[in-house]
Symmetry: C2
Subunit: 115 residues, 2 copies
């Protein structure tokens, strides 16, 4: 029943600013390694490594075309991540999260629509 997909590779991939930047760029169009590198201020080899990490997180795909490799965004892989984070939505706009337990007996007290 494929419990929950392994979020680790995706969270790991998102933990680096260069990789997040690459994702944004790929949301516009697929790009070659050289093109991506042009924006990254580091060597091709370094960018390539980032692409591999992104691929491990399933956040991008790569396809070979002639002598170049086009990387493209796989935004769907972000869904499980957002889903994980959404769990905490009910704790937003209130610092009562930590008191949740303490206040459980007052559950009908209306917490008016925050801001």
């Amino acid at each position: 029943m494929s419990a929950s997909p392994d979020l680790q590779p995706a969270f790991r991939a998102l933990a680096d600013p260069t990789r997040r930047d690459i994702l944004k760029r790929l949301s516009a169009r697929e790009m070659t390694l050289a093109e991506i590198t042009a924006h990254c201020d580091m060597t091709r080899a370094a960018v390539k490594k980032h692409l591999v990490v992104l691929q491990d997180g399933n956040l991008i795909q790569m396809r070979r075309s002639g002598r170049e490799t086009l990387s493209s965004l796989n935004a769907d892989a972000l869904k499980p991540v957002v889903n994980w984070l959404t769990y905490f939505e009910s704790f937003w706009d209130t610092h009562l999260g930590a008191l949740h337990d303490t206040l459980s007996d007052l559950k009908d007290t209306e917490l008016e629509d925050k801001e």
Copy 2:
């Protein structure tokens, strides 16, 4: 105009499974270091370090009470993260993201509801 908050510390904090687990636990109630450690299968010192990383990401707060320190969730800090990810929402459920550019001249072609 406080452009965008620095997402790095938060993304960094979220990149570790132990820390994500701690966040889930803290969503129930605030906990002491000893309590958290009880679930983590590692030393107090190690857990303490994770708490510091979470605090750097502003995902938790700590308050001292007598000889113990209570850590509590600050779910609000997840908002900017979700917001960043939401940017990609328009690319979900379609693998056309990478072709967005290529297809730009066909923009009136109706892309019927995917799936």
